[in-house]
């Protein structure tokens, strides 16, 4: 029998003493006030204060500790998430926090999704949005009090993004005034809904509605799936967990099969339509508000689920790069910080710039949608197509960019980045899921492209188009006038690059050409999709640079913030040109010599921003506990933390049976039969 690893006392490393001088020195050279920038990011110093108070309250409560998270099995993670969710209810009552209060976003941001019942919240929201007043009055109090636990069952085994293809059926039975729900085949099984595998008692099921043999399309139904007494599945219900995933081990994503499950007529959510007792199908009100609400979900995930992970990854990778030393840059000196290597800067600093760019675009999108909401409340639906295009395109672009950014950070940390204790693998596996949920990215880009093509055609025909796309009708630019590398630090110069809509105009031309030469519309569209995706990406990229430029212009230059943000904005823009050089060289808009100047300017910026790199991630103001990373802690005591944390691993605490059972007989050469 193997003994557990012997306890190590090293004396010199068992106490974490102060900030690592390599990190401390980085903070002395900040060109701006970190505290002021933090306040700017929070939207005001009073928000920073509130956020810190909430974080303090949560972190001081051991029930919320995530220290053991990386050591836990799927079962343990799930149980911990349920325990935390239950504890949170108690905590909220204690602290006087409410679901609608200003605190809630900070609470969930800190928890970073590592908690159960998130789909329960979606369940409640869908009832509030899609349910009649009577249904809201019946279900919401039960759900608020957690007398029932809900989920939201839309995606099926065979269908995700394409909702019209769902196969679950709900057939109205006039005789009993009930809907009969069925999973007619295996691909129709509900698959993926969170909280459903083990926790939920109820769920909103999306099914094809049939009345008198006629299909009315997909509608939502509240279905009880488990007993409120003993939690066992209701008759006709087969429900379970879909098994291990790349992440979200704490969430019981579930499957659900329904066999002749009956629900009363009143369980169809009926704010917009209803099946009356005699089977008459009535539709009222405008579904557009509903449609709008669904659209906003894509924007609402960006901040916490997508941009925040990139900010955390940058914090970890940049702090670690200031602590890690490797090789010598100058003979005779000590080994250099890896952050001083140009190649390391080129990996990390564009990600940092993107994190800021997306923070600002996110604010812009929220303002845009708030305005849109007011217009729609006033029954003005004009901006709806534009908002839809925005939500699709930006969801796709930001999730894709942040996912690749987090992975770059992970790989920039070398071997230690691969340890779960770095925190980076779990950030990566979480953020990458966002490329798929709430609409698969390629499909979303193509929705944006469809809107852009429409606008482009309208503009060509001299018709009015929405303000965000008026640039599509601007004349083709001449040659780029820049002569010196400093010229490329002028937003007027680089914004013109991104405005360039050649990808879109040539897609439109090709599309028309194909149709004129006899191709069917759908086939012509399919043949242009690769380029259309690129055109949609270019559009979103342009808007992001534009908003970054406008944000920087509006900042006042107290405390050096405007200057450092201008550097980041320039870097974001020039990195975009450097990485897509072909698009700008094409047509000779930019000459080869000018492209060399862009590269030179871009590389110069890396060295400038390098000086502020650590302060710029400090400004995100993550606590060590929320980062949960051995590499990224504020004090930079990387190696001690890694060593002490690793010793707590269960593999070092428990006796592995492997030695006695297999290794010993093998070593002694008598492993006859195991």
């Amino acid at each position: 029998v193997t003994a557990p690893a012997s306890k190590v006392s090293l004396g010199y490393d068992s106490v974490l003493s102060g900030v690592n001088p390599d990190l401390a020195s980085e903070r002395l050279t900040a060109s701006f006030s970190v505290e002021k920038l933090t306040a700017r990011l929070d939207g005001g110093a009073e928000h920073t204060r509130m956020r810190r108070a909430i974080v303090e309250a949560i972190e001081s409560d051991p029930a919320f500790s995530r220290e053991n998270q990386y050591f836990q099995s799927q079962n343990e993670r799930y149980e911990a998430a349920v325990r935390r969710a239950v504890h949170l209810q108690k905590k909220m009552r204690e602290m006087g926090w409410t679901e609608n209060g200003p605190e809630i976003k900070y609470i969930y941001r800190w928890l970073s999704g590592d908690i159960a019942f998130l789909l329960h919240r979606v369940f409640m929201r869908s009832i509030s949005v899609l349910g009649s007043d009577k249904q809201v009055a019946k279900w919401i109090p039960l759900a608020t009090e957690h007398q029932i636990i809900g989920s939201y069952a839309q995606t099926e085994l065979g269908h995700g993004t394409y909702l019209q293809g769902l196969e679950t059926t709900a057939v109205f039975d006039i005789a009993t005034q009930e809907f009969l729900l069925n999973t007619p085949k295996i691909s129709a099984m509900k698959w993926w809904p969170g909280d459903m595998g083990r926790s939920a008692t109820h769920t909103v099921v999306f099914a094809q509605l049939y009345v008198h043999g006629k299909c009315y399309g997909v509608h939502p139904f509240i279905v009880q799936i488990r007993s409120l007494q003993d939690h066992s599945p209701r008759p006709g219900v087969t429900v379970g967990d879909i098994g291990p995933k790349m992440n979200f081990e704490h969430t019981d994503n579930g499957y659900l099969m329904l066999q002749n499950v009956r629900v009363p007529r009143e369980n169809m959510l009926s704010r917009f339509c209803e099946v009356q007792p005699d089977g008459t199908y009535v539709r009222w009100g405008s579904q557009k508000i509903n449609y709008f609400t669904m659209t906003t979900v894509r924007i609402s995930i960006l901040s916490d689920e997508v941009i925040l992970p990139l900010m955390k990854a940058c914090t970890i990778a940049i702090r670690y790069s200031a602590v890690r030393r490797q090789s010598k840059l100058k003979p005779g000196e000590q080994e250099a910080k890896i952050l001083d290597y140009q190649t390391q800067q080129q990996k990390l600093l564009p990600q940092l710039a993107a994190a800021y760019a997306f923070h600002f675009i996110n604010i812009y999108l929220h303002e845009l949608f708030d305005r849109g909401y007011q217009e729609i409340q006033g029954r003005n639906f004009d901006s709806l197509p534009e908002l839809h295009a925005f939500s699709s395109g930006f969801k796709a672009m930001v999730t894709q960019y942040c996912t690749s950014g987090v992975e770059i950070c992970l790989r920039a940390c070398g071997g230690h980045g691969y340890s779960l204790l770095s925190g980076l693998p779990s950030l990566y596996t979480r953020v990458l899921a966002s490329c798929i949920y709430e609409g698969e990215n390629t499909v979303l880009f193509l929705q944006t492209a469809r809107f852009l093509i429409k606008c482009f055609m309208a503009a060509s025909a001299g018709q009015p188009i929405p303000p965000s796309v008026t640039y599509l009708s601007s004349a083709k630019p001449g040659k780029c006038p820049a002569k010196d590398k400093l010229d490329f630090l002028s937003p007027d110069v680089y914004l013109k690059f991104f405005q360039f809509s050649r990808l879109l105009s040539s897609s439109a031309a090709k599309l028309q050409h194909l149709i004129q030469s006899g191709a069917e519309k759908h086939e012509a569209w399919n043949q242009c999709t690769v380029q259309l995706v690129k055109a949609a990406q270019a559009h979103c990229h342009y808007i992001t640079v534009k908003i970054f430029v406008e944000t920087v212009e509006k900042l006042d230059n107290k405390a050096g913030i405007q200057k450092v943000m201008k550097h980041l904005c320039d870097l974001f823009a020039l990195h975009g040109i450097f990485s897509n050089a072909g698009d700008f060289l094409y047509d000779g808009y930019l000459s080869g010599a000018q492209m060399d100047l862009v590269t030179a300017s871009y590389l110069d910026l890396l060295a400038v921003i390098r000086m502020d790199a650590v302060p710029l991630v400090d400004a995100f103001d993550f606590t060590d506990k929320s980062l949960n990373s051995a590499l990224g802690s504020y004090d930079g005591q990387v190696y001690q933390r890694l060593y002490e944390w690793a010793q707590k691993s269960p593999t070092n605490q428990q006796v592995s049976p492997a030695y006695g059972k297999y290794l010993k007989p093998l070593l002694q050469n008598r492993l006859s039969k195991l």
Binding site: S199, P244, K328, T343, G415, T442, A646, L667
Partner: protein, 645 residues
């Protein structure tokens, strides 16, 4: 159509291996629960069980040929890492190549018979790729004729070696040798770490597992700390450098010898890049043929997602890449075999170029495969995210190869160093040979005042041989640009290292362009060796797709250098899309040719029979959370919560 030329590229071996494979896969001894449902400790235990069994079977069948062992291991263990992995590769291999005859006699029987289990402890917590920075010390004590091993700082703790945490009882430790008060640099030592018989750590040794990782659950990557731990003088590997009993240090003859091992390991990683990407492509392409979604044409049934241009554009270039990397891997292995005889005889003339080339190719292929696997997973939508797809496992197992055996950026810069050196030679009028011989053209160019970029290249985009020329021109242009920028920096600065650092982004780009050229060249060269016309036709399509896709992703380089015109770029983009449609009917056959057994593919989405959905359901039912119909959390947390409210 291309059956038998896939994974190993050697048609003759396929049938016999197929039989052997069936035998092992159906062997009841190798059965176990789905690894996805096991905890890390359980996965480790299963891996040890299977490795032990495998060793026993190797003994039983008397398999001794290294290639046979490699194949047998892959068949027994599948694509997963094993805790004994470093015992057979690094531990045994190092002892075979770096020991004296007396040392061989003592250690090799124990190692080959697995009477001791060893690992290779090089990387430390504070240092990986930069070997000279390692801090572990081995100080010679002539009084007792022993070395005293120490881990003087936290950063010097050995960290990451596979099999070190729980499995091994010996390790080859790399340490800075001190004798007669002088540091003689890094040397290798055999260090016993655990008591034979009880497996307890020896006094002075602190050893354990480094905790959970992204992948490699079955591997006990470990830490090792040594405090005044003494080993006899004879435990230093002394084939080359030696310490005599009185402490006199005898220098090794040639330090390039270690290049050989590095080339060998990097060639394995290139092969691994090809294999991992092939597995991912197999899964994604088969699943895309099974999955139906949306409508292309109103009123018609939902099409296979493989019919969407965007899906083809994601997957087919990767399929072409997988084939390209297979050929590159085989080329390096063959070249290494060819010159390894010379190396033993002391002729090292070809080694530096091969060493420099493999560094870059290791980085290029592992980066590309890494991104490609993720692209495949994304192309499978939500289900790709489930562990049942097998794709998360392929990714987490493969991704560390971007870091181990030399961090990729550092590898690229090694290749760049060779490129710049070759460029400098050419500039001073010497000729260079091998894969860099295109640089010779630059000297001829120099006579004219023209920039190399202005050299006219007539590219025919339907002709792979012409595309090789285009890639060659791009590489020449980027190597020259990087070398000139480096020279400009050197003119401004005192420190060479500083100038190098300020040019490193350009240098990496030059290396990438060089590697890209080599791959296109090798793929193209392979085509003429294929005798079967149908196979050659489809391989030519893949080769064209690989080359053209690479251009369309890097149009900036080709436009800026004047290698292609705007019109040609349009044609390239258009031709890529045409090739997608041409390859579409062969797509599934092309992944079937890789010939992965379902058991080794480990993917419900990628099953050979395509029965995806029903098997996902069967798989999910076995999930640990489904062990009981009502989870214990209901009784522990949910019920009390509802009661309290």
């Amino acid at each position: 159509i291309a059956k038998g030329r896939g994974e190993e590229g050697r048609p003759g071996g396929t049938a016999r291996r197929g039989l052997q494979r069936e035998g092992v896969i159906n062997d009841p001894d190798f059965q176990h629960e789905d690894l996805n449902f096991l905890s890390r400790s359980q996965r480790y235990e299963q891996a040890i069980r299977k490795s032990s069994l495998m060793v026993m079977k190797l003994r039983e069948h008397g398999i001794a040929d290294p290639d046979e062992i490699y194949w047998f291991k892959r068949t027994c263990l599948g694509p997963f890492p094993e805790p004994f992995g470093l015992h057979f590769s690094m531990f045994q291999k190092t002892l075979e190549t770096q020991t004296t005859d007396a040392q061989k006699e003592k250690w090799l029987p124990l190692v080959r018979g697995v009477n001791i289990i060893g690992t290779y402890a090089q990387t430390e917590m504070g240092h990986g790729t930069h070997l000279r920075g390692l801090e572990t010390t081995a100080t010679y004590d002539p009084a007792t004729q022993e070395f005293i091993l120490n881990s003087p700082t936290v950063t010097s703790i050995k960290w990451w070696p596979g099999g070190l945490g729980k499995t091994s009882n010996h390790a080859i430790v790399l340490a800075q040798l001190y004798t007669q008060g002088q540091c003689k640099g890094l040397h290798a030592f055999i260090v016993p770490i655990r008591q034979l018989g009880t497996h307890e750590p020896l006094p002075g040794i602190t050893v354990g597992d480094i905790g959970p990782k992204f992948g490699y659950d079955e591997m006990d990557n470990g830490y090792l700390k040594m405090d005044n731990f003494r080993i006899p003088r004879e435990n230093m590997l002394m084939k080359y450098a030696q310490v005599e009993p009185d402490g006199t240090y005898v220098k090794p003859l040639n330090d390039k010898l270690t290049y050989g091992t590095m080339v060998f390991i990097r060639s394995i990683i290139v092969g691994d890049s090809a294999r991992s990407l092939s597995r991912a492509c197999t899964i994604a392409i088969r699943y895309s043929a099974v999955r139906h979604q949306s409508e292309l044409k109103a009123g018609e049934p939902e099409p296979q997602i493989l019919d969407y241009q965007t899906q083809q554009y994601k997957l087919f270039p990767l399929l072409a890449t997988a084939y390209a990397f297979h050929f590159v891997g085989a080329y390096i292995k063959d070249t290494y075999r060819r010159i390894s005889g010379d190396i033993i005889e002391g002729d090292l003339s070809e080694l530096p170029e091969l060493h420099a080339l493999t560094a870059g190719l290791k980085a290029f292929t592992s980066w590309t495969a890494n991104a490609g696997i993720e692209e495949c997973r994304m192309a499978c939508g939500g289900h790709g995210y489930s562990r049942c797809s097998g794709l998360p496992d392929i990714y987490v197992t493969f991704t560390p190869s971007c870091t181990y055996e030399g961090e990729n950026t550092v590898m690229m810069l090694q290749t760049a160093r060779f490129l710049v050196k070759s460029y400098t030679q050419v500039s001073s009028g010497q000729r260079v040979t091998g894969m860099v011989s295109y640089l010779n053209d630059l000297s001829r160019q120099r006579i004219q005042p023209q920039h190399v970029a202005a050299r006219p290249v007539t590219v025919r985009i339907n002709d792979p041989i012409s595309l090789v020329e285009a890639y060659k021109a791009r590489a020449a242009r980027l190597v020259e640009a990087a070398a000139k920028n480096l020279q400009a920096e050197l003119n401004h600065r005192k420190s060479k290292e500083d100038a190098w650092n300020r040019t490193s982004v350009d240098l990496v780009r030059a290396s990438e362009a060089h590697c890209h050229y080599v791959i296109v060249k090798l793929f193209t060269a392979k085509l003429s060796e294929i005798s079967n016309a149908a196979v050659r036709a489809v391989m030519t399509e893949l080769c064209l797709l690989y080359a053209l896709y690479g251009i369309s992703k890097n149009t900036g380089d080709f436009l800026q250098a004047g290698i292609l015109t705007d019109t040609q770029v349009n044609q390239v983009n258009q031709h890529v899309k045409e090739l997608l449609a041409i390859i579409r009917p062969n797509a599934v056959a092309l992944v079937d040719s890789f010939d992965f057994h379902d058991v080794h593919l480990g993917s419900v989405l990628g099953r050979y029979d395509g029965n995806v959905y029903e098997n996902m359901f069967e798989w999910a039912k076995k999930s640990p959370l489904n062990k009981t119909e009502v989870h214990e959390s209901f009784h522990k947390h949910l019920k009390p919560m509802q009661a309290k409210l």
